[in-house]
């Protein structure tokens, strides 16, 4: 645990010692704020549904951008050589990286809470449970996309390539349930289950079903496992 904490701490220091984290947080808040407030007063509804629809779209580009350098940069500048010669397990390194990336996403998400307070101030009959489950869904989706981003960052030393692959992979998982009409009927159930948006919309409705939780945790575990294997294989090449 100490090693995961050390990697996490180093990564957070890296984020906040450079303009990276500040740029991310400010732009994330502005983009979400703009699209949310644009329609909030027009619709006159006391919920955050607009925000919960916008954030996944913003995630599609922001999370690969945050995670593209997590491992690719270490490989590129050579610090991976230092890391690999420390008494540090690969899973500790990967977990530290994942948690740091996810924490930054959570901080971005926390910045959107200003809209919640606005809603509480001006709205009536606010459904706190739906808002809680909406945020939980966004957090789980953020964690899933971060795990994908960490993996795509481990397959190349080029951050731009990691970003492009990352956007592509998260887009595929996001779009799956929107392409069900093109899928044979026998496979539709499976494809729908693999779609991240399907599980997010379930949770956002306020239903926290164990199947949805299993999906998100399986996806996170699977991509973290892939990342660990990718890094281990590098030593044997």
């Amino acid at each position: 645990m100490l090693n995961i904490r050390m990697v996490f701490r180093r990564e957070m220091l890296g984020f906040f010692n450079s303009p990276m984290a500040y740029i991310f947080l400010v732009i994330f808040a502005i983009v979400n704020g703009y699209f949310f407030t644009n329609t909030f007063f027009l619709f006159g509804q006391s919920d955050l549904r607009t925000l919960f629809d916008i954030v996944p779209l913003v995630y599609l580009f922001f999370i690969p951008a945050v995670s593209m350098g997590l491992i690719a940069r270490e490989i590129n500048i050579g610090t991976m050589e230092i890391i690999s010669t420390l008494p540090l397990n690969t899973y500790e390194f990967v977990m530290g990286k994942f948690l740091a990336g996810f924490s930054l996403i959570l901080l971005g998400l926390a910045a959107t809470s200003i809209h919640f307070f606005t809603l509480m101030a001006v709205g009536t009959n606010v459904d706190i449970g739906a808002i809680f489950s909406g945020y939980l869904g966004l957090a789980l989706m953020g964690a899933t996309f971060t795990a994908i981003g960490v993996y795509t960052s481990s397959v190349t030393e080029n951050q731009v390539v990691a970003f492009i692959i990352g956007v592509f992979v998260v887009l595929v998982f996001y779009m799956l349930d929107k392409m069900l009409i093109f899928v044979p009927h026998s496979l539709a159930g499976l494809v729908q289950f693999l779609a991240v948006d399907y599980h997010l919309s379930n949770i956002s409705r306020g239903v926290i079903d164990s199947r949805n939780l299993v999906y998100f945790f399986s996806m996170i575990g699977f991509f973290i496992f892939l990342t660990i294997q990718t890094l281990e294989v590098r030593r044997w090449k």
Binding site: L13, I82, S84, T85, L86, K237
Partner: protein, 314 residues
């Protein structure tokens, strides 16, 4: 102690290291010398656990690199060739991270930090961002990073590359001092650097160890014939060319005439010294010897011979 047995590493079809074996004892400073691409860095990367050998065995203090990777890594301090650093961090944050991974926190970390700051002369930069430090300081930070946990074994890949002459002398002094109590295995492609710092030299060429010993041992084992440069006035071309018939220990190599002076090159075996006989021969033939300079093979020549294609058995 480091013991390497039949170690090989292939990158695809390229054999970077070919079944090498050697041992390094505690308290020894050993230099690993070779041209760029000879296999030095690959060997060091395998010893530190960064790369897995294709074949062979690496033992460090009786631990095996495959089974006890982390135990070995606890005992090794490693400075990679390109000295990668987290440039966005402050110097002490960088040390704090590396020490933390090695479970050195709190008071022990402060003591370790004070020790490496003192040893590597980092007093003025400890609170600076690494990106603001000069190349020389960055190299010292890399060296200090390798020593933060006071390892028994130091593996340094090209530790003085890019430093100015004063910094080279400083780092060399530090390595020598550390070598009194630690095993130091350092690589370089600069012969003078290795010669000035180490107790023993290993030369690697195209993935194979072609020489292993102290400077004196290498000199006596690999020194070839002695070249003798002479300037002779008054000697005829024929008499000089036929000197070999009179003095069998001397071999005629070349001759060039310039303003009536013959610039001649002879060669003789390192175990013999025919200069006195040559002198007498010259007197008998009424030659005037203007110059007689033997050129013995030095370590640089040996290195060049050993690391030049086709000359391995020189």
């Amino acid at each position: 102690m480091i013991k390497v047995t039949d170690l090989s590493k292939n990158y695809g079809h390229v054999e970077a290291v070919k079944s090498i074996s050697f041992e390094i004892q505690d308290g020894e400073i050993v230099g690993f010398l070779g041209a760029n691409g000879a296999g030095k860095t690959t060997t060091l990367k395998m010893i530190t656990g960064y790369l897995v050998p294709t074949e062979g065995k690496i033992e460090v203090n009786d631990l095996n690199i495959i089974d006890d990777t982390h135990e070995i890594q606890k005992q090794i301090g490693y400075l990679p060739e390109l000295n990668p650093l987290y440039t966005e961090m402050r110097v002490y944050e960088h040390f704090e991270f590396l020490a933390g991974i090695r479970n050195i926190t709190g008071r022990p970390f402060k003591d370790a930090l004070a020790r490496v700051v003192e040893q590597c002369g980092l007093n003025g930069v400890i609170h600076k961002n690494i990106s603001e430090c000069s190349k020389g300081y960055k190299q010292r930070i890399g060296l200090a990073s390798a020593m933060i946990h006071d390892p028994k074994i130091l593996i340094l890949d090209e530790p003085v590359t890019g430093l100015d002459p004063n910094q080279i002398v400083e780092i060399r002094g530090l390595i020598k001092k550390l070598g009194k109590e630690k095993l130091v295995f350092m690589s370089s492609h600069i012969l003078q650097e290795i010669q000035a710092t180490v107790d023993r030299i290993m030369i690697i060429h195209e993935g194979e160890i072609v020489a292993n010993g102290t400077s004196d041992e290498l000199m006596s084992n690999f020194m070839g014939n002695v070249l003798l440069n002479m300037e002779i006035k008054g000697g005829s071309v024929e008499s000089i060319e036929h000197i070999q018939a009179k003095l069998p220990s001397v071999k005629f190599i070349s001759m060039e005439n310039s303003n009536g002076i013959q610039h001649v090159q002879f060669e003789y075996d390192k175990g013999q010294d025919p200069r006195e006989e040559l002198f007498r021969y010259a007197v008998d033939n009424n030659w005037s010897i203007l110059k007689m300079t033997p050129h013995t093979t030095n370590l640089e020549d040996i290195f060049r011979d050993l690391t030049t294609e086709g000359d391995i058995n020189a």
